[in-house]
Each structure stands twice: as structure tokens, then as C-alpha cells.
């Protein structure tokens, strides 16, 4: 691999009050790579993901997306926090999909998808609508565009959420346990949509408990525990032959 990585984290630290949740995370994700993050509950996976688009402020370390420092500007040795507008501009380039979907319940599926392009990117409404319809069709929801989130199943809602994030044409997609809140029979449709996205070359960081997805779609697997990256490597290798005791213990429970 050559060139600039899409995501580079160096010694990222994050504390909530006195509890240190991230204790120096180093991760590199190349453009087009699908990086799956696994680990026990409370290990800091969500927190790391939220640092990548600056929903959380990091306390130490550095984090770049596409060569740009996230949330800060560096002058000399010092870091200055970016203004709200600049943070928002960075977030436009990064899509995020949440465990609990977080669709806007007062808008239809279609309105959910066109909201940000029209309101944030100031796109022409008709064009945004065309693209939104195409995106919804791509995630298999061409017939649900007029439905409100409350009228959709969990799997359908999550696919709308994916379309909503894609509508901003992000260069990076973050998924935080996108299938954990779903009934088992609905998991497949969401994973399929993510797989199609990966095949289109999207760079993705996916926090998941779906080891099958990690093995099949992932380019790399990161195992986190207690705020540190314990092990990282190609998914098949890590899953088949974990080198660290903690990884072994975790995998023996989930596989």
C-alpha cells in the first residue's frame, strides 16, 4: 500500500472524568479498506469511533482523516480546537451509522435522506431527491420512500440510515454495531447492504460482533480490550489463530 492513509490514529487517549477509556490507540486504515473492530463491552470501541468524527474530543494523541487533523489545527507544537463550523465541515465527509438508527422520526425515509444534502450542502432539492431515490433503491427500499421510520422494521430503518449517510458522499463510513439492535432475521439484509458498499470501494470502520462479516468482508481486524488495541491483522488469521491470550479468551466466547 502506498500513499496517504484514510484514517491514522496515533496514541489517542480519551478520558471521561477520571476514567481513562482510550489508553493510546494506534490504528491505520487505508483508502478502500474495511476495518472491523471487535472487543468486549466497555472496551472503548464506540468511544474510538466517536473520536474519529469528533463527537468526542480526544485528550491526547493525534487523529487524521484523509490527511487532515480531526477537530484541531496544529500551529507549531500546539493544538487549537477548530470552530463549530470547521468541525461540521469535517463531519460532512464522514458518514456514521448508529446502533439505534437515530432516524429523524418526523420525516419520511426520503426526507431523512435529502435533509442533509439540501440543508447542509445546499444541493438543489430536485437533484437531491433523485439521488436519494437512487440510494434508497440501492439499499432495497424503493417502495418505502414515503414511510415514516415508525412504520419501518429495524432492518429497513438501518438501511435508510445507511442511505442517509451515503447521501452526503462521504469518503469514510463509520458503523457502530449496526446490527446489534436488530432481530436475528433482519441482520442479513443490513450486512448485505454494507457488503455491497464495501465492494464499491468505500473505506469503512465497522464495530461489530458479526465475526462472519468480519471474516468475509473485512480487510483487517482490530481487537480492542480495556482501551488498548491488543491485536490486529487480517481477519482470517486473527480469527483462526489469535496470538494473545485476551484475544483467545474473547473469541472463544463469541465464536
Amino acid at each position: 500500500m502506498s500513499g496517504e492513509p484514510m484514517v491514522r490514529a496515533e496514541a489517542v487517549h480519551k478520558s471521561f472524568g477520571r476514567t481513562e477509556v482510550l489508553k493510546g490507540i494506534d490504528i491505520t486504515v487505508a483508502p478502500g479498506e474495511v476495518c472491523c473492530v471487535v472487543g468486549p463491552s466497555g472496551s472503548g470501541k464506540s468511544t474510538f469511533l466517536r473520536c474519529v468524527n469528533h463527537l468526542e474530543k480526544i485528550n491526547a494523541g493525534r487523529l487524521w482523516v484523509d490527511g487532515e487533523l480531526v477537530g484541531y489545527r496544529q500551529r507549531g507544537d500546539k493544538l487549537y480546537e477548530l470552530r463549530e463550523k470547521e468541525v461540521a465541515a469535517q463531519r460532512r465527509e464522514i458518514g456514521m451509522v448508529f446502533q439505534r438508527f437515530n432516524l429523524f422520526p418526523h420525516m419520511t425515509a426520503l426526507e431523512n435522506v435529502i435533509e442533509a444534502p439540501v440543508q447542509v450542502r445546499r444541493e438543489n432539492r430536485a437533484e437531491a431527491r433523485e439521488r436519494a431515490l437512487a440510494l434508497l433503491e440501492r439499499v432495497g427500499l424503493a417502495d418505502k420512500t414515503g414511510h415514516y421510520p415508525g412504520q419501518l422494521s429495524g432492518g429497513q430503518q438501518q438501511r435508510v440510515a445507511i442511505a442517509r449517510a451515503l447521501a452526503m458522499r462521504p469518503k469514510l463510513m463509520l458503523f457502530d454495531e449496526p446490527t446489534s439492535a436488530l432481530d436475528p432475521e433482519l441482520v442479513g439484509e443490513v450486512l448485505d447492504a454494507m457488503k455491497a458498499l464495501a465492494e464499491d470501494g468505500m473505506t469503512m470502520i465497522v464495530v461489530t460482533h458479526e465475526m462472519g462479516f468480519a471474516r468475509e468482508v473485512g480487510d483487517s481486524l482490530v481487537f480492542m480490550d480495556d482501551g488498548v488495541v491488543v491485536e490486529t491483522g487480517p481477519p482470517r488469521e486473527v480469527l483462526a489463530g489469535p496470538r494473545h491470550e485476551r484475544t483467545k479468551a474473547f473469541l472463544s466466547k463469541v465464536l
Partner: protein, 302 residues
Amino acid sequence: MPVRHPLRWVAAAVMLVLVAMAVNTLVTNERFNWPEQFEYIFAPQIMNALYNTVWLTIVAMVGGVVGGVLLALMRLSDNPILRAISWFYLWVFRATPLYTQLLIWGSLGALFPEIGLGIPFGPVFVSWETNTLLSAAAAAALGLVLNEAAYMAEIVRAGILSVDEGQREAAGALGMSRAKTMRRIVLPQAMRVIIPPTGNETIATLKNTSLVAAVPFAELTFQAQNIYGRTYQVIPMLIMVCLWYLLLSSILMVGQHFLERHFGRSERGAARPARPAALLSSGREQTGGGGGGGGSGDGGGG
């Protein structure tokens, strides 16, 4: 066949007798002097007073909602100074009686005969006489608006807090500014929680307009007092203005009913929060305390 609910029938019979007695006095007691009262129902003074009551209610609610949103946003902002100002405002206006506040607004001219614009502690460039600047009407409206804003602030705040944090995060992750997130995502959802108590507030405000007699300003109750001051027909006159209040309140209740249906429907299928029984409960009483908020917000403290 045995009577199935004997107590119900007894209660109904007692009620019937009481109602019959009331109607009987109203009709047969000469001192009510109905023919004369009916002439007053549409008398010019009363029509004018009715007009004042209506516009005062409208101004108080529109101003109260705008002020309430501002105060709620200040209260929820990251800026500790704005938070403190809002807290102080709510504390003062909710912890003092509206009647007393209105007396103060009505008497401001006595305390500050002139209001001027200039450099603090320096020269004054222009000045006005307070009583021309702050007419009785303006003092009445100002008093109601400032008071209502404090109550609306708590309602709006409860509404904003009722919206799931994940909504703000999702909007933020899409690159929306905080102001836009508030306007496009949070406030429309907060409406479900804000609308029902606001309907109650409107009815309470309609009744609170009777307190601007303190200013003094000629709305319905004040005008009724004027009239019975001359005619000595106290109770009939008061019953008559009550009929006007009943009519106005009923119109508001019907409007509230339809507004709630509309905002309940805009989130089809989504779970709806429990709300206080709306149609016939009026949030708070006249000089009152409780503030009819949608649950989580009683903001006396912290």
C-alpha cells in the same frame, strides 16, 4: 328487575334537584334583572373590553412563546452566563405573583418619570415620558408577556429535553450546525411535548388577562366592575363576563384538540409520550404556581 347501580341513581337525582333549584333562582329571582343584563352583553364598552382581552391573550402568548424559546435555549446553552441569566429570570418571574408584577409595570411612570437614551452615567441624548412610552395597554401587554415567557421557557425546555440525544448526534454527524439541528430536528420533535401544555397556558393566559385591572387597563373583568359600580348589578354582570370567558375558552379548547391531533399524527407509528389529559385540564391557576410543564422541567434550582 333490581336497580343495578343504586348510588349512581341517587347521585343523579340529587344533582337534578340542585340544578333545578339553581335554574329556578336564576329565572325567578327578580334581583338578577336579566332583561337589563342582556343589553350589556353586546354593549360597546363590553365589546371594546372583549377586544382588549383577546388581543392581550394573543400578544401574551406570541411574545411568551418567543421569549420562552429564547430563555429555554439560554438555559440549555454551554455559556454559564446565559444559563445564569435565564435561571435568574425564571426565578424572579415565577416566584412573584403576576398581579404584583402588573402593579409594578403600571406604576413605572411614577418611579421613572422619564426614560432616556444616552451614555451610562453620561449625557442623555433623547428622552421620553414614561407614561407616553408605556401606555396602559403596553404595560399590560408587557407584564403578561414577561410573565408568560417564564412559564413557556419551562415548557419548551422540557420539550427539548424530551428529544433523544441520538437525534442531535445523528444531525451533528451529518455536519449540521447546532442552530440548524435545533430548528430542523429537535424543535419539531419537541412540539409533541410542547403543544399540550401550551394550549393550557393559552387558556390560563386568557383568564390571567383579568389581572391587568391592576395596571389599570380596561379588559372584560375591569369593564364589568366599572359597569356594576354604576348599576350595582354585581353578580349578574360577573356571570355575564363569565359567559364571555366560557365562550373564548371553549374556542381555545377546540383549537387545542385539533392542534394535538395534528402534531400527534406527524410522527406516524412512532411511540408517543404520555401526556396530561388535555381538553379540560387547565395547566395552572390564576396567580399561579405550577407551570404545567411536560414533566422533567421544574427549574427553580440549578
